[in-house]
């Protein structure tokens, strides 16, 4: 795709984040969508493209009263919204639609209007993973981490430092769920969930949503906010079964999505001012730093433990506090995108001064899918 041909012109989260017991999941979508439409200075009738995940596009379109000319229901887990951004950029470039609304919302904590998840007993996961006692993401996502640590020489303390650094960022963010400072010792003494991971290395479970509005760069100049351009994108999938990943030393989906986005953007890693790596669990930023090519995997743990991603560090990462401390409704990708857009607009609560390029990398399922979006505020 052409660089900077499409831009984000509207971005907003739900009015509240955290515990929202008075709103269904569907209404959370609408709340985020209406906030984003207001942010962009548009009317609902201006929207001619719609993308969403888990909820269907027809559900969201009908609820909002939109009859679109382009829809995308790609639903590959928490990074679905990175893929929506990529697909929307291509659709706008191709002339299939002019103004796209991407919505996410999840009543992850309150579970209002949220369909129960289930795995059929005759699916491959139902036959070859479920019988062994996997039960939700905490029992599955950390399965690769002991192998990763052994291969790359990563320590428990280094992975614990991910949670510590992100809490530092969260402390600067009024909307973050968890703000109290923590230490590596706190992390390593917190309640065991699935060895080697403890509660402070697992994401939050909250309610919330977010929405983005995209249009061509040409039209973007007429909107109230500074356009945030799409510089490069990438996507891939590997397997819905964590046990069947090609290797636990790396994520194959990451190594396709990330480098594709960097090539498309035509940037070097040293050009990156701000980085979001979807942190459902504390090992993900390490995989991301390695698989996106910032450094060899062997150096990722030390890089974070040494403070390079913390406030004032040379590579500010997960500056909203991340899924570990900001919020995590179940599909966190939208919140990572929102933070990248805030940073590019220059309005983030923990703003990285002068940031011009933001890399936003997401995961779906247990390393099942991946999407990367590289933003810039320079046309």
């Amino acid at each position: 795709m052409r660089r900077n041909a499409v831009a984000v012109v509207g971005a907003a989260e739900t009015t509240e984040l955290g515990v929202i017991p008075n709103m269904s999941q569907l209404q959370l979508h609408a709340d985020a969508a209406l906030n984003a439409i207001k942010d962009a200075g548009l009317k609902l009738s201006d929207i001619d493209g719609i993308a969403t995940a888990v909820e269907t596009p027809q559900q969201i379109a009908h609820y909002l009263g939109i009859t679109p000319t382009w829809v995308d229901g790609t639903s590959v887990g928490g990074c679905s919204f990175m893929l929506h951004v990529r697909h929307a950029a291509a659709a706008i470039e191709a002339g299939l639609c002019k103004t796209v609304l991407i919505t996410h919302a999840e009543s992850g904590k309150s579970m209002i209007g949220k369909a129960p998840r289930s795995i059929p007993a005759d699916s491959l996961q139902g036959q070859f993973e479920a019988p062994f006692g996997v039960y939700g993401p905490p029992s599955m996502f950390p399965i690769p981490v002991l192998r990763y640590m052994k291969t790359h020489g990563i320590t428990h303390e280094q992975i614990a430092s991910v949670a510590v650094v992100q809490r530092e960022w969260a402390a600067k963010n009024p909307r973050a769920t968890m703000k109290a400072p923590i230490t590596v010792e706190d992390v390593l003494n917190s309640r065991m969930i699935a060895y080697p991971f403890r509660i402070l290395q697992c994401c939050l479970v909250t309610d919330g949503g977010g929405a983005l509005i995209m249009t061509s760069a040409e039209r973007a100049k007429d909107f109230p906010h500074k356009p945030v351009y799409i510089l490069g994108t990438g996507e891939s999938v590997e397997t819905p079964m964590v046990s069947q990943m090609k290797t636990f030393d790396s994520s194959r989906a990451f190594t396709v999505a990330g480098p594709t986005a960097f090539r498309e953007a035509g940037i070097a890693h040293s050009d990156v001012d701000h980085l979001m790596i979807y942190d459902a669990f504390a090992h993900l930023p390490l995989y991301g730093l390695g698989d996106l090519g910032f450094m060899p995997h062997e150096e990722t743990g030390k890089f974070i433990a040494d403070g390079n991603t913390r406030p004032g560090g040379k590579l500010p990462m997960n500056t909203n506090g991340g899924g570990l401390s900001y919020m995590h409704s179940g599909m966190y990708g939208m919140y990572a995108l929102q933070e990248s857009v805030r940073q590019m607009r220059g309005i983030a609560p923990a703003q990285v001064p002068g940031a011009k390029i933001s890399v936003c990398h997401g995961v779906g399922g247990m390393f099942a899918a991946s999407g990367t979006v590289i933003f810039t505020n320079e046309a």
């Binding site: 888990v54 129960p116 006692g133």
Partner: protein, 148 residues
């Protein structure tokens, strides 16, 4: 993320562990475990050994594939020791492991006859298949520390 919760579709009346239901493509595997064999598939064209079962080679797309009895020997590739939430029918803490088979493929397993502790569960330790009967229809291929 956003993954379904395996086991959530279980009969809630009894908190029993998730039971697999074979399909036409996987029936040979489940017939094998009932007969005390760990059965894998090998491509007749390119010799690729693969898992989970399917009637074609995921490496070269050939439909000429054969089922064979695997050695049952493997090593511990990685694991978690799950504390909470525990799946129905499991008493925490219990290890959920991925075993690397001698023939190449990996599969998920519990580790039987072994303390469920980091000290006892050492990566790359040798394992051997152990068949665990769930009911008259289903026997699981599990693993335990190799003897000798």
């Amino acid at each position: 993320m956003t993954p379904p919760l395996p086991g959530e579709n279980n009969d809630m009346a009894e908190a029993s562990r998730a039971r697999p239901k074979p399909t036409p493509e996987t029936q040979h595997f489940w017939d094998g475990t009932q007969a005390g064999e760990l059965r894998l598939q090998r491509c007749d064209e390119c010799a690729n050994v693969y898992f989970p079962p399917r009637p074609f080679c995921p490496s070269c797309a050939s439909r000429k594939v054969s089922v064979f009895k695997a050695s049952g020997r493997g090593t511990l590739y990685s694991y978690v020791i799950n504390h909470r939430p525990a799946a129905p029918g499991f008493t925490p803490p219990y290890a959920i492991a991925v075993v690397e088979l001698e023939e190449g493929p990996r599969l998920m397993s519990n580790i039987l006859d072994c303390p469920q502790t980091p000290e006892a569960l050492v990566l790359d330790m040798k394992l051997e298949v152990a068949f665990e009967k769930l009911d008259d229809a289903i026997t699981l291929a599990q693993f335990r520390p190799a003897k000798g």
